[in-house]
């Protein structure tokens, strides 16, 4: 009898302990999500004391899919930002992790400070790079260029400018313009990648440390070069970690907002900025909600593709 009572009360205890978290998630996450989904089928605007709604079905979604060129240029810019950032992060992250996997003097020190950029809040990171990229003589990057004698003493480059890079090269220039790339966007990619690469490094390093040395020794005996070893042993083994990194980073990069909004306000319209502008600045709640769900659908689609390509049951 006493044992049965203990079983029940442990389940009850679990429920009671979980209840606050469940309540918070319901109110702060699930509730607004459902409300936003509901609003996306209405023409919704704020009025005094509440929100006025008028049912219009799928009109908001159709507007963005078929009638709004700004939406598609926004998707293009965000995709460019995501793809270029991912490529740089992956290459840099894996390389650094490979280096950190070897033993050298001061390795534990380097391993501990590598996480510092990741620890910065995104807003602080954005403000810091705002000062570095300032287009006048007191911008840190301009100052550095002058000290290294790459720039003459009176030349100040406006780093966050809107000129399209590689404009003059025939195909690449046209592609850059179509996608909406600008010098500003490229510099922001650098700023964001600097902050996030440590995360990729950490995840890959953790995975690398579980790989048995025997695999590499056997490959070495068979005469495989280090590039071969990397390509045929390390990369396939890294697949699960790469899947995690890709899904995580793609989601976050597609949703990018802080750094772009703080540095460029509304002039680079990535989907996050566009949604914020439509919903919060133009006070068009219906359209803003529809836009955010469309973006969610995109990210879901990309993640499904990743899982299809990279998921494997066995190592």
């Amino acid at each position: 009898m006493s044992i049965r009572r203990q079983e029940l009360s442990s389940k009850q205890l679990a429920l009671i302990l979980l209840l606050p978290s469940i309540l918070i998630i319901l109110c702060v996450v699930i509730g607004p999500l459902i409300f936003a989904f509901y609003l996306s089928f209405f023409k919704a605007e704020p009025i005094i004391g509440g929100i006025s709604t008028k049912f219009i079905g799928f009109s908001n979604y159709i507007h963005y899919f078929l009638k709004d060129p700004l939406f598609w240029s926004s998707v293009r810019v965000t995709s460019y930002f995501t793809v270029v950032s991912l490529v740089i992060e992956l290459i840099l992250g894996i390389s650094i992790a490979l280096v950190l996997n070897k033993s050298f003097i001061g390795r534990s020190f380097v391993r501990s400070i590598i996480l510092l950029p990741w620890a910065l809040p995104t807003v602080v990171n954005a403000r810091m790079w705002e000062w570095i990229y300032a287009g006048s003589s007191f911008g840190a990057l301009n100052g550095l260029m002058k000290v290294l004698h790459i720039f003459p003493a009176d030349y100040d480059k406006v780093w966050l400018g809107f000129d399209v890079p590689l404009q003059n090269i025939p195909l690449i220039g046209n592609f850059m313009e179509w996608v909406g790339a600008s010098t500003a966007l490229n510099m922001i990619i650098l700023a964001d990648t600097w902050k996030v690469t440590p995360l990729v490094t950490l995840l890959v390093l953790a995975a690398l440390q579980t790989f048995p040395d025997s695999l590499y020794e056997a490959a070495g005996i068979d005469g495989a070069s280090s590039w071969h070893q990397f390509w045929n042993i390390t990369l396939p083994l890294l697949r699960p970690v790469l899947l995690v990194v890709l899904v995580l980073r793609t989601m976050e990069l597609f949703r990018v907002f802080d750094i772009i909004y703080i540095l460029m306000q509304y002039s680079i319209r990535v989907v996050g900025v566009y949604t914020f502008e439509t919903g919060m600045k133009f006070l068009n709640f219906g359209r803003g909600s529809a836009l955010s769900f469309l973006v969610g659908l995109f990210i879901l689609g990309i993640s499904l593709i990743y899982v299809k390509l990279l998921y494997s049951e066995e190592v």
Partner: protein
């Protein structure tokens, strides 16, 4: 169980007693922007005096200009508002009035009040025949020029027309006195619309007509954009202008990197501050020049753009009477006389001997403020302004021709306004 019950009872009693003490004294919540114009400590001083005189407690909250709009909307939508009084930027008048967010104050104002405020200032807050805020901050743009650079280039005085200014700029650039004589805040933000509006005024017109229909793609509006593009093409305007906001444009001027600029009243103080300015004595403030063929149209031969802020009361506030007392106090002539760092809105104060002693340039300011042009007064203003900014900026960066850009902007704006 009994202990739990007692604990809950204690908490309940504390909450209820707390609520009662809150109701005892009247209290209002005010949100205000902490940027240009009156500084937070000045607003706090005004509020302290008001508390002494009226026994109404005033809670102040300061936010950046850009954040104000969202916070006021959030407060308006809530059943219990967070704020009672807020600073209404004139560009939100149409939007907030049509949504019913603020209280019409015509009944609160006496005829003496209406007489003593110039129509140009009062008009900014009128929509649909009613007044929606008390004019509080009269911010507007002025002309700033470096007289030393002008004299070095061989001219005597500041230019009176835009054509003269271009002539002086070309001479200044040719003689190597300054690489980019013109700087301004042409980044893709609300400031760009302001610059465009005063330039359209300088070419003799407005961006929207009396019936609030867009007309900026022909005549003065088109000439204004072509003028801006010309300054960039000829290398007279710094390419940095395209990423400058107003503080950055001021920094360019007070560091001695520009000969001419247009900026809000706050630049005057920074320009004459020896601790940050390199052009103390050389930097002067004057009336913005207009195009040659517009001479004779305006009383003071100048055009400017308004950046007024009014003190308004939220419609769902529970303390409207207390809020109006506060509004009336901070906008009163006595308070404005005490804080002459900002242009007073009352004609009696503007023309008083006291103001002339405290602010020697108040004559210039009075002429400029009487010549302001307003930005379009339409309910979907944020979207209209965003479209204008986008297309003007693409013309300035050379991605589109001015006429094509303005035509497309007009089509999109008409779609948004439902015309």
């Amino acid at each position: 169980m009994r202990k739990l019950f007692l604990a809950l009872l204690m908490i309940g009693v504390l909450l209820v007693s707390g609520a009662f003490t809150a109701l005892a004294a009247e209290e209002i919540n005010v949100i205000y922007m902490a940027q240009a114009a009156y500084q937070p400590n000045e607003i706090r001083d005004m509020a302290d005096l008001f508390e002494e005189l009226s026994n109404i407690k005033v809670n102040l909250e300061f936010v950046k200009y850009d954040e104000q709009h969202e916070k006021v909307v959030a407060s308006a939508v809530a059943p219990i508002p967070t704020y009672d009084v807020f600073s209404l930027d004139l560009i939100w008048t149409a939007e907030f009035a049509s949504k019913g967010f603020c209280v019409a104050i015509d009944d609160y104002m006496s005829p003496a009040v209406k007489e003593d405020i110039a129509p140009a200032i009062m008009d900014a807050f009128v929509f649909d025949g009613k007044t929606w805020a008390m004019p509080f901050l009269a911010n507007f743009q002025l002309f700033f020029y470096n007289i030393d650079m002008i004299k070095k280039a061989g001219f005597d005085a500041a230019p009176k027309t835009l054509e003269e200014m271009v002539e002086q700029m070309e001479a200044i650039k040719a003689k190597g006195i300054c690489k980019y004589p013109w700087t301004d805040s042409w980044n893709q933000k609300e400031g760009l619309t302001c610059e465009y509006v005063w330039l359209t005024g300088a070419f003799g017109g407005d961006t929207f007509d009396k019936d609030a229909k867009p007309i900026f793609n022909t005549g003065p509006g088109l000439k204004a954009l072509e003028f801006m593009v010309m300054l960039l093409d000829k290398g007279l305007a710094s390419p940095k202008s395209l990423t400058n906001d107003e503080p950055a444009a001021r920094d360019d001027f007070i560091a001695g990197n520009a000969a001419f600029t247009s900026n809000w009243t706050f630049q005057y103080g920074s320009m004459n501050d020896p601790s940050i300015s390199k052009v103390v004595g050389a930097g002067k403030m004057g009336l913005l020049p207009i195009a040659k063929d517009v001479l004779g149209k305006y009383t003071y031969e100048t055009a400017s753009v308004s950046g007024f802020q009014g003190a308004a009361i939220l419609a769902n506030s529970k303390n409207k009477e207390a809020a109006w007392k506060y509004v009336r106090f901070i906008t009163s002539p006595i308070v404005q006389r005490a804080y002459l760092t900002e242009m007073p809105v009352w004609t009696s104060v503007q023309t008083s001997a006291y103001a002339k002693t405290m602010d020697p340039v108040i004559d210039v300011k009075a002429k400029e403020i009487a010549s302001v042009h307003h930005r379009p007064k339409v309910p979907p203003y944020p979207e209209v302004s965003s479209i204008l900014q986008r297309y003007i900026h693409s013309a300035l960066t050379g991605k589109m021709e001015p006429k094509a850009a303005l035509d497309k902007a007009k089509t999109e704006i008409e779609a948004v306004m439902g015309l």
